[in-house]
Every structure is written in structure tokens, then in C-alpha cells.
């Protein structure tokens, strides 16, 4: 065996260690990442309003609707 197996395993493990997608981003290279449209939720206000509207039309109570669901469409 086993030499071939050993070599294959070592190549897989070594490439796993070296070819991982992680890269260190220096603090001064984060200018573009810091832009608001790069955030997970680029428009938090819009999302919360949409969530509220969606919640008010759902049958079940939602965390976004103060009135508590029911599907009445009440805000």
C-alpha cells in the first residue's frame, strides 16, 4: 500500500491546509468591505418595513407586527 495511499493522503491533507479559501485582509484593505451596500442587510430600514408588512398579512403572529398576525392586514 501503501506508499501510493500515503502520498495521496498527504497531498489531500497538504492541499487542504494550503488551498483553503481563507485570506487575511489587512485593516487598510477593508475600505470597500466597509461600504453599506456590502453589508449582509444593506437596507435595514427597508427590510424591517417589508418584514412588518409581510408579518401583518401572515396568519401567525410575527415579531415584526405589533398587532399580532391574523392575516387581517392591520398595521
Amino acid at each position: 500500500m501503501k506508499v501510493t495511499h500515503f502520498i495521496v493522503i498527504s497531498i489531500i491533507l497538504f492541499s487542504g491546509a494550503t488551498l483553503s479559501g481563507c485570506a487575511q485582509i489587512a485593516p487598510w484593505e477593508r475600505g470597500n468591505l466597509a461600504k453599506s451596500h456590502m453589508a449582509l442587510d444593506p437596507n435595514p430600514l427597508q427590510s424591517s418595513i417589508r418584514g412588518h408588512i409581510y408579518g401583518s398579512r401572515e396568519a401567525a403572529a410575527s415579531i415584526n407586527s405589533a398587532g399580532g398576525g391574523g392575516g387581517c392586514g392591520c398595521f
Binding site: K2, L13, G16, T18, Q24, P27, A34
Partner: protein, 171 residues
């Protein structure tokens, strides 16, 4: 075979970890700051740290896109206003990828302390900057005495106390 695979796995893991967390130079204590090639916004070369011996130097690495940096600017202006005559020098080193961003930022928020540019980012690398903003306080003897990362409003008083204490110290 399994033993060998385990050994290899352990070796790869150690390699991964060494890649993820490289050892950084720790400057705090009796270490002089690294030599830096810095320039002013107009392109003129700035003097080295050696020329500032005898003064307490507050070195701040900042960028225009960083919200805590914006918060720290009024504090640095206040420090300059209060302690300039007592021997404090505030220096803000900009790390923006484009100098124009810094100029735009400064046009909106005029400052009373010098702004330097680290065009190659070599200075930030040598200082081991890992956060924005990062502050290095150099004492009168020319040693880095305090490293502060980030800026929260509550920390301003602590920094001020430290600066006052360093200003009292004799060379």
C-alpha cells in the same frame, strides 16, 4: 497507516493554524517605533520619530470609511488643543486606499493636528496594525508605551489620564 494519517492530519492542522495566526511584533514596552516613510498630504516628506524625542507622540492610524475613527477625531483635536503646549504631538496616519477619500473627509472635518500618508502601507505593517483605528503612544524617550485598538467613547478618559502621566515623566 492510520497512525501515519493521524500524524499528517495533526501536522496539516498545525500548519493551518500557523497560517491563520502569524506571529506579530509586539511593540508595547521599551521598544522604539519602527522606521516609517511618511508624507504630508501635499507630498512633502515627514520627519522621523527620532526628531520627536522629548515629546509625547500620539500616533493614530485611521481611514475615512471607519466610523470609530470619525468618533476619535474630536478627541484628538481636543488633546492637541489642551496638551500641545505641554509637549504632546498628535499625528494621524491615513491608510485610505485613495488619498482623495482622505482629502474629502478632511474637507468636511478640519483638524488642528498633522495628517500623514502611509502610501505603501509599510509603516502600518511594521507597527502591526490589526484594527482601525489603532493608536500608539510614544513616550519622551522614544519608546512605544501604549497600544490602543479601536475607539469607544468611554476609553477617552483612560487615554487622557495616560497621556497626562507620560507628559509629567522626565526624559
Amino acid at each position: 497507516m492510520i497512525k501515519q494519517a493521524n500524524l499528517l492530519f495533526a501536522a496539516s492542522l498545525m500548519f493551518c493554524l500557523s497560517v491563520v495566526s502569524p506571529v506579530r511584533a509586539h511593540l508595547e514596552g521599551n521598544t522604539p517605533p519602527p522606521h516609517c516613510q511618511l508624507s504630508f498630504l501635499d507630498g512633502k516628506l515627514a520627519e522621523g520619530w527620532e526628531a520627536m524625542k522629548g515629546e509625547v507622540v500620539y500616533v493614530d492610524f485611521w481611514a475615512s470609511w471607519c466610523p470609530p475613527c470619525v468618533k476619535s477625531f474630536p478627541f484628538m483635536s481636543q488633546l492637541t488643543h489642551e496638551f500641545k503646549d505641554k509637549g504632546l504631538k498628535v499625528i494621524a496616519i491615513n491608510l485610505d486606499e485613495s488619498v482623495e477619500d482622505a482629502k474629502e473627509f478632511l474637507a468636511k472635518r478640519p483638524v488642528n493636528f498633522p495628517i500623514l500618508i502611509d502610501a505603501s502601507k509599510q509603516c502600518a505593517q511594521d507597527f502591526g496594525v490589526i484594527a482601525m483605528p489603532s493608536t500608539y503612544i510614544i513616550d519622551k524617550k522614544g519608546f512605544v508605551r501604549h497600544i490602543h485598538r479601536g475607539f469607544r467613547t468611554g476609553e477617552a478618559e483612560e487615554l487622557r489620564r495616560l497621556i497626562e502621566q507620560l507628559l509629567i515623566e522626565e526624559i
